[in-house]
């Protein structure tokens, strides 16, 4: 049975089983920049011979009735990927909205997605990425190479290559790399993803993603967009479908973010229930200090409130509560409106 090529989130196809790894990554691989492939090939070819021998020799399959060693895929080492994949790992996959230093968007393997979702790296470098990935362990053929006697030492990691689940779902569902909520294809967060962690069962993961697929196809259901606020430590997410107009929406946002502006939170980060703080935020939002902006499907940042509500929910991809001083980067017309409102 031929194993389908897997694409990890960087878009590099992984090799097939150890026994076949001499075949290397097929040229039809749709993945990464050419510079990365040779080094990965080198690594795998170096190890496969050793690996192959060792595996045969040390194979213990007691009690497994009539099975061959299952096919494995070699994982790719984070080091290789990090150095080789600063750029977009997806040829022919134009990344809109690419902020410098941002992670690549997800590959075209994801059908039915309208756009790319780009996570900002939040200033994390790849070095930190590696650090963050220390806790996940390397996998793949290199464990079984000739120094199998020694404890593993390498700790850089990308995802572990494991068997492809037999569901017909698109590639992104295989591993835990798919962000579960958002109709857009997403790159994983700035941290390296670990296979099988957190331990969520496939069905639940797939339910979340199929929810997304449905949403993007039918436009029904939820429209989750991220809302960030300058200066706030983390993002929130809102479902635009649950609001009917700008009024409801902005008061909901006020409630959500009042704790950041006012700084009156309990330790859980729950917004303070002080009515005063909400009206203060209203003032802040409508005054000069904060401006509510959104990124539309063309990648432009617009001021919220310009267009009819339905049009807004259709085109809004992301929200940002900007400091007024930064709003000068908005389109002039938007700025004009902003000034007029003030």
């Amino acid at each position: 049975m031929s194993t389908p090529l897997e694409h990890d989130y960087i878009g590099l196809a992984e090799t097939s089983s150890v026994e076949r790894s001499s075949e290397k990554i097929p040229s039809s691989s749709s993945s990464s920049s050419s510079s990365s492939i040779p080094s990965i090939e080198d690594k795998t070819s170096r190890t496969t011979n050793d690996t192959y021998l060792n595996l045969k020799e040390t194979e213990l399959s007691l009690g497994l009735p009539g099975s061959q060693p299952p096919e494995r895929k070699l994982s790719l080492f984070g080091k290789d990927l990090e150095t080789n994949d600063k750029s977009n790992g997806f040829p022919g996959c134009p990344l809109k909205n690419l902020v410098s230093g941002a992670k690549r968007g997800f590959s075209d393997a994801i059908d039915g997605y309208n756009g790319k979702w780009v996570f900002s790296m939040n200033g994390k470098s790849d070095v930190e990425l590696a650090k963050g990935a220390v806790l996940a362990s390397p996998r793949g053929g290199l464990d079984a190479k000739s120094n199998s006697q020694q404890p593993r030492t390498s700790v850089s990691v990308m995802k572990q290559a494991v068997g492809v689940p037999q569901s017909p779902k698109p590639v992104q569902d295989e591993q835990n790399l798919v962000p579960p909520v958002n109709e857009h294809a997403s790159a994983p967060a700035a941290k390296a993803q670990v296979v099988g962690w957190p331990p969520i069962r496939s069905f639940r993961k797939n339910s979340m993603t199929s929810n997304l697929a449905k949403n993007s196809d039918e436009g029904a259901g939820c429209i989750y967009v991220k809302v960030s606020m300058d200066g706030a430590p983390y993002l929130r997410k809102v479902d635009l479908k649950t609001y009917n107009n700008y009024m409801d929406f902005s008061s909901a946002l006020e409630k959500m973010f009042s704790c950041f502006t006012i700084g009156q939170c309990n330790s859980n980060g729950l917004p303070a229930r002080d009515g005063l703080s909400e009206s203060r935020l209203m003032d802040l939002l409508h005054g000069s200090e904060y401006v509510l902006t959104y990124e539309d499907k063309d990648g432009d940042w617009m001021l919220v409130g310009d267009v009819p509500w339905e049009m807004f929910t259709d085109s809004c991809r992301r929200l940002r509560i900007m400091k007024g001083s930064e709003a000068t980067t908005l389109a002039p017309r938007a700025m004009e409106k902003c000034k007029n409102q003030n």
Partner: protein
């Protein structure tokens, strides 16, 4: 027992006393033993003496095999000639999280072939994490004329065609329970394969499937199966369709809705509400995909006697949950998404004093940027309001040692404590210390603890605590924890009742692995992946313990699957 039989047996006791044999006539003993349901009891009974062993094996009708590689179907059939019901578990639990390669094994077919020959009157088959093909399903459907109940949980390898075969051929089917499987969903026509004359179905669960089913066929099926107690629909069934089904099945005890979001007219809404509240026997409610506040209100009247509410596919906010829970005073089991946040959990503590089980799943597990979800505060709030809590599965992004100590102080009866701090190796976020004391508190206080999943930054101290205090622990899951072999050695040296140990990404090596040789005899399985165990270590283990199934794969998870005699099989668990 007849009094004459009693007299006879007494006489024989007297006469055989000198021979010191068990002298109940076999029929009597078998009759008595047939009343034993618990596998543990049966195991104990079979160890008493040869006569009891025989009586037990002749009277056993249900066999539970927790590890399909621990024994062969031929041996099972030889020992237990009268089996009607089989439960089989295959792959290691970590296969749920993609840690086990495809085609690993656990194929049911060889078992079916033996069963067809030896148990032609087989009635029930319950599989968990087994591989089963459409051909096997068809073989099953035609080989057992009395077949009644099929339950597939977390299995894979089959498609809806296999289900069609079951529907077509199993004339006496009462249960078709398809849960969380890797099923190839080709289409919904399998439902139409139930013949028009077929009326015996009591349990139908196809929530797993994604494609549209033939609603007409479903409606007719539900209409004519008057004994149906459990109906769990898939997403494709709309609210309007749900209402039509319920009108014909008010006797339902367990309902899994389809998509719980649709634009309804006022009349349609009222009809739905009425149909739901007419289900007076309903104690379990699930499904509720995409349920939003507006339609949840339709459930209020139906929730009065609800004991199990599964909201884990509905991204509710805290206020919505609070309002709903106000109508669920009898709730014992609750599953939610962490979109309800701590505030929602406070509402749980306030409204559900009888709560025994809580599971909080993450809505955004793979997205570090977004920090919604629940914190230690929510868990603490629940513990104050729900002293009977004994089963928890909790995904969170922050936790403190102090909070866990408070929680177990409030709820000392935990039997299942599964805490997942989603960032691997994360310390107590207030003190920056390891989470050792948290789990120390758990094992010290919760003496009935059977299952534990640990997370967060943990040193070997955690495992010292576990080994020392967790006297009833049977299942332990460990990830990204520990400092040295000593940790694992503590567990293997303590925990007298340990049955399943699954470890990933921990610095435990050969010394630890080999320290448990005695222990493995009484365990069902050990899983170690991405640890410091080497091939040599596994080889040594295999050599020292020839009766163990040792499977080791270079560079891949090394799963050690241990022989457990059927005598030692245990009760089914709640995954």
């Amino acid at each position: 027992m007849e009094s004459s039989e009693l007299k006879r047996s007494k006489d024989s006791v007297n006469s055989c006393e000198s021979a010191r044999r068990s002298s109940f006539p076999d029929e009597v003993l078998e009759r008595v033993l047939s009343l034993l349901k618990s596998h543990r009891d049966r195991s104990s009974v079979s160890l008493v003496c040869k006569d009891w062993y025989n009586a037990e094996r002749w009277s056993r009708t249900h066999v539970f095999i927790g590890n399909c590689y621990s024994v062969s179907p031929e041996i099972v059939a030889r020992r237990f000639p009268r089996i009607r019901s089989v439960t089989l578990k295959g792959k290691p639990r970590f296969s749920d999280f993609n840690l086990v390669p495809e085609n690993w094994g656990a194929d049911i077919h060889a078992w079916l072939v033996v069963f067809a020959a030896k148990y032609p009157f087989l009635e029930e088959l319950r599989l968990k994490r087994m591989a089963i093909s459409d051909e096997s399903l068809e073989f099953l459907a035609v080989s057992f004329p009395n077949f009644k109940a099929l339950s597939l949980l977390s299995c894979d390898g089959f498609s809806t065609n296999g289900l069609a075969a079951i529907a077509t051929h199993c004339k006496n089917l009462t249960e078709l329970d398809i849960q969380e499987n890797g099923i190839d969903d080709i289409g919904g026509s399998w439902l139409s394969c139930f013949p028009e004359s077929f009326t015996t179905l009591e349990v139908l669960n196809f929530a797993n499937l994604t494609s549209d089913i033939n609603f007409d066929a479903l409606e007719k099926l539900v209409g004519r199966c008057k004994s149906m107690k459990v109906l769990k629909l898939n997403r494709s069934v709309s609210l309007e369709q749900l209402q039509r089904l319920l009108v014909n099945a008010p006797q339902l005890a367990e309902l899994g809705t389809g998509l719980f979001s649709q634009e309804l007219t006022i009349r349609e809404y009222e009809e739905l509400e009425s149909a739901l509240s007419n289900c007076k026997n309903m104690h379990t409610l699930s499904g509720l995909w995409d349920a939003t506040g507006i339609y949840l209100t339709a459930l209020y009247l139906a929730c009065t006697h609800l004991t199990f509410l599964n909201l884990s596919y509905a991204a509710l906010q805290s206020v919505e949950l609070a309002k709903l829970l106000a109508h669920c005073p009898q709730l014992k089991r609750l599953w939610v998404l962490d979109t309800v946040e701590d505030k929602g959990l406070e509402a749980v503590g306030l409204n559900c004093p009888l709560l025994e089980e809580l599971r909080v799943f993450p809505a955004d597990p793979f997205d570090d940027e977004i920090v919604h979800g629940v914190t230690e505060a929510g868990f603490v709030a629940v513990s104050f309001g729900c002293p009977r809590l004994h089963y928890v599965l909790y995904f969170c992004r922050q936790m403190t040692n102090a909070a866990v100590a408070t929680i177990v102080q409030n709820c000392p009866d935990f039997t299942h404590f599964r805490l997942c701090i989603m960032n691997p190796g994360q310390p107590d976020y207030l003190t920056n210390e390891p989470m050792d004391e948290a789990f120390g508190a758990v094992v010290r206080t919760c003496t009935k603890l059977q299952r534990l999943s640990v997370s967060g930054l943990l040193t070997d101290l955690t495992f010292e605590y576990i080994g020392r205090y967790a006297k009833n622990l049977e299942t332990l899951s460990v990830a990204f924890a520990g400092r040295s072999d000593w940790g694992m050695q503590c567990v293997l040296g303590g925990c007298p009742k340990l049955r399943k140990l699954e470890i990933r990404d921990c610095p435990f090596g050969n010394a630890a692995l080999l320290s448990g040789l005695e222990k493995y005899e009484s365990m069902r399985s050990l899983w170690m992946s991405a640890c410091n165990v080497t091939m040599n270590g596994c080889r040594l283990l295999a050599r020292e313990m020839p009766r163990l199934n040792v499977e080791a794969r270079g560079g891949m998870p090394r799963h050690l699957s241990l022989l457990s005699e059927m005598l030692g099989t245990r009760q089914t668990e709640n995954h």
